[in-house]
Structure formats: C-alpha cells, structure tokens
Symmetry: C2
Subunit: 318 residues, 2 copies
C-alpha cells in the first residue's frame, strides 16, 4: 500500500476531534481524565487499567469511576510535593512491573505545565504516556542545497536495528526528547552532537527555528505489545539545519546506524511506503510544505494536513 | 498600549475553543448553525438577526428557533440549485438594504466546500460573513535579503486612505481573496500584478508556497458600525516572495498608497503598536516564526501562537 500524506498525518494525529461527536464520545468514554489538585484544569487522559492501579494510592489521587476522573489530592499544592508523590508511584510501579511501558525507564524528567505555562509537575519520561500528559521534543531537518543545480536534499538516518522503539526505520536527521532542565536550542545542540557528530558552533551557525508540529497520538499497538491505547499528546519544536555539502553527519551514540543524503523524490517514495517513523514523517511533510515542495496545487488535503500538524491540544502546554 | 504577539493573534482567532466550555457555550448560544440540505454537516454560524431574515425564505431554508438551526431544504440537492437559491436571496437582501454589510458587494463568488472537499455552494463574497461560512485568501510576504549584511527586510504597503475597510493601516506586501474560479497560485500572480506591479514571470520565479494560517474570526465591530458579531472562519494560503533589492513594488490598482522596505525591528514595533490590519499581523507573525525571527527561547506564547494560527475549523474546508 502507498500512503497519502494525509494517511501519514492520521497515524500521529489519532484521537478524534470533538467535531466528530460520535467518535469523540467513544474515545472519551474509553479513558479517565487526569485532573489538577484544585480541579481547575485537565492534565491528560489515561486508560482504565492505569486509573485502577492509581486506586492503591489514595494519598495521592482520588479515582472517581462515575465521573471517570483521576484527581490529584488538594494537599499536593506545590510543584515539589507533586514531583515527589508521582515519581514515587512511578518507581513502585516500575519495581513491581505493573506496566511493561516502564521497562523503557530513562531517568529523564519531563515537565508538565499549568494553564499559565508554568511548571506544574516533572515526571519520568517513561511514566508520561501512562498518564497521557503532553510530551515535548525537538526535530531537526538537516538539508543541503546542491551547488550548481540548486537541488534540495535531506540527510536521512536509519534507526539502529537494536533500538527498542521503531528499530530499522527511517528518521529525521536529528531528534530528541526535551528533558528537564534543557531548553529547545540547548536540546538541539546536544542531540546534533550525540546523534550526528555535529559540533555546537556549526549547529548554532546553521540552524533556524521554524515552528512546531503538534498532534494527539494514541498507541495503536504498544511499543510493548501487551499495552495498547496509551494517549500521547505531543509537541515537537522544529528546526531546519542548512548544511554545506562538505559536512557529513555520522552516528556518535549509535542511535542511528547510518546517514544517507536523499533526493526529495526518494524521501517522498519512502514516506509513501511507510518506511519513516510515524512522527518523523509528519516533520518531513511540514518541511516540504514550508519549502514549497508540497503545494495547494498538487495536494488535495493541504489545509487538513496543515491544521492537523498544528493541533491545539486540550491540555495546558509550554 | 503595546500588544504582545499573542494579543495580536487573539484579535483574529476570536471564537472561544470548546476547551473553555463556558465561553464556548455562551458563543454557541449567541448564534444559529447553518446546516447542509441533508443534515449531515454544518456550514457556518450566523447571527439571530440573519436567521430571522431567512424566515422569509421558507422555500430555501427551514429556520428552527428551538435547535437554533438554519437548515437548507432537502430539495436543494445540487450545487447549481443551491447557488441559484442563495444568490437570489443575497440580491433581494442587497436591494432592500437588509444588511449594511452587503454594501460591500463585490460581484465575486466564493466557493463553500463539503466534507469531501468538493464545491457545495458558490456565494457572493459580501454575503459570506452573514452566513459565517469559511472564506479563503492568499497572502504574500515580499522580502529582501540585503546584500553584504544578509539582513532580512519586508516590503510593507500602507492601505489607501479611501479603502472602505481598514483604511490607512499597514498590510502584507500583497493579499487577496480567492474568488471563483481562481486557484491559489493564480490568485497570487494576479494580485501581485494588481497590487504591486510585479510581473507574472517574476512572481512565479521567486515565490514559494509555505503553508496556511487559519483562525476563527468574529467582527468585534462591524466594518459597518451597525453590525457587529458576524463570524468569519478564515483560511489564508501563505507565500514567501524573495525579491532582489532592485525590484521595487509599486501600486497599480491603488489599493495600497505606497510601499516601504522595513527592517524587522520596525515591523515588530509597528505590529506591537497595532498599526497592521489584524489578519496581516498574523501572517507576519507566522513569517517571523518560520524564519527564526521569533523563537521558543524568547517568545513565551510560542506554542499557543503556532496552534491558534493553524486552527482546525469546525466546518468542511478545501
């Protein structure tokens, strides 16, 4: 099967929109809402099996099966109290192997925000999809304009065959999660070195911040087959890195097995074959749209793709 | 007062999101929903005074004050039947001066789409805001990279003092509505000549399609003071036009009174002063974000701005 660009976007923007009341309701009926300590805002959506497990921690949350809410206790009214309480639960669940997903434990904290865009909680990265809270990353499009012809080509790595997630699939030039306390540009510089051997000075000289993509992902199949349905609202900060033809990225931490400089036609073909990791396909479609390589003249789903790659999530964000 | 970039975005993305149930409900209670002939989808939101006027056309629509819906009659089951019926009403209302807004009559048809992205209806442009249907335009950012310094500057026109709408305000280099039967690039080429004297060959050689912005506008004050509250969901196709320093745009149709090549700092200052037409401010903010001139490091509302400038509208679109 050949995917359309919209098919690829639908693989990451999965949760139904409220405009489709039937599908939206059926989704909402399948999850519990994770609610702030003062009841004033929602933090995420979680599966009933996670809510069930939370019932054993009535000092931290109140689980209401009628309203289908998991509410943080009012007494947890500071950032540090919440950090302590929830990361303790994460460690307990990890130790007792409550969820396979926690096998991906990273020792990396992700920040969750309140409606004023202030840090509300910091949680172990592998714990976040269990709670369905918003996660953040940075993705970098490394590209070259071929001298003479002016042709645009993209540096495309293949993920290592031994990576636990999406082994062997094609990826963005560089990409990484935004762990605390790193900012966007800082994460970009760090990951460009770790994943592609690019020096900090080179990256800051050549990189441009160009926007975000955001979407509402739901695991169709767990990264661990036993667990599907975790919800992952996601925001990826996007950067373009215009590289000169003489700079060749090379794997340092071996998350990538190799890099190939691909023509746009080759990238399009591999996208349509489904060879790219899902969210990386979204990043490249956004890149192609910003660079006039996908246009309203030739793409019938142009507006829908643009909108769904910039979805406003129903939770507070950075 | 100095506006933030988010303040400027909020001036065009006005209608409350469903995530704010109270504001959203109060908005929904203030409008009637315009519904397709088969009841399967919504076309727009209209004010009660428009729904009231529609009651005199029971051969074309059924107005239900209980459900607050204006439903197209099932018999109007073809594109041409709907075109005929609604444009007849538009002409009648114009003749009897039912709404001041129709004084802006353009003799220009806008296409309304169904959920399959097929044309559903074509309506006089000035009639569209009365029905609250989605409208389309093209906006072009003409910019210059100054040789030597590499500084980016923008070509900014001032709207003619005699224009009926937003007289004397600053604007995008070129912008125009997408009237039937013109496509996006065709509209760009046409408007670039009419508004800025740029030849077709020059435009097609230098222009790049870079995305859309979309937002849910509501008139806070009518363009005609007696009528406020019309709803205008809008999609603008965005193009960047990289111009060489020797090409100087000049008004042809005199919609603009003059063009100034402005530094980024000057544009930012004038944006923050509120000197730009509202939706043109949104276009420039999007431009600045794509060009790394507004970054996540220095803009606290970065994600919210990106999302609100790409709002998925609750109606079918192209």
């Amino acid at each position: 099967m050949k995917y359309t660009f919209l098919d690829l976007v639908k693989k990451i923007d999965v949760v139904p929109y409220y405009y489709n009341p039937k599908e939206h309701k059926s989704f909402r009926d399948s999850v519990y809402t994770f609610v702030s300590h003062d009841g004033s805002f929602r933090l995420g959506y979680m599966l009933p099996m996670v809510a069930e497990e939370f019932k054993k921690h009535s000092d931290v949350v109140k689980v209401d099966d009628k309203t289908r809410e998991v509410c943080i206790k009012p007494s947890l009214n500071t950032l540090s109290a919440r950090n302590q309480a929830f990361n303790k639960i994460a460690r307990i669940w990890r130790e007792k192997c409550a969820f396979d997903h926690l096998k991906g434990w990273r020792d990396e904290l992700y920040t969750i925000y309140d409606p004023d865009k202030k840090p509300y909680m910091r949680l172990e990265r592998a714990f976040c999809p269990l709670l369905g809270v918003v996660m953040y990353g940075c993705h970098i499009n490394g590209y070259v304009i071929v001298p003479g012809t002016g042709e645009l080509k993209l540096w495309v790595p293949r993920r290592s065959a031994t990576k636990p997630t999406y082994p062997g699939m094609l990826d963005n030039t560089v990409a990484g999660g935004m762990g605390y306390p790193h900012g966007c540009l800082e994460t970009v510089v760090k990951e460009c070195y770790e994943e592609a051997g690019l020096k900090a000075g080179y990256v800051t000289d050549h990189v441009t911040s160009v926007g975000v993509i955001s979407y509402f992902y739901q695991y169709s199949k767990g990264e661990y087959a036993s667990e599907k349905g975790f919800v992952q609202p996601e925001i990826e900060y996007i950067y373009d890195l215009k590289m000169d033809p003489d700079t060749i990225p090379h794997p340092v931490d071996h998350e990538a097995q190799d890099f190939t400089l691909m023509s746009v036609d080759e990238v399009v073909e591999r996208l349509k074959n489904g060879e790219f990791k899902h969210n990386c396909a979204g990043v490249i479609i956004d890149f192609f749209m910003r660079h006039g390589l996908i246009t309203p003249e030739d793409e019938p789903d142009y507006v829908e793709i643009q909108n769904r790659l910039h979805r406003k999530l129903p939770f507070p964000t950075r």
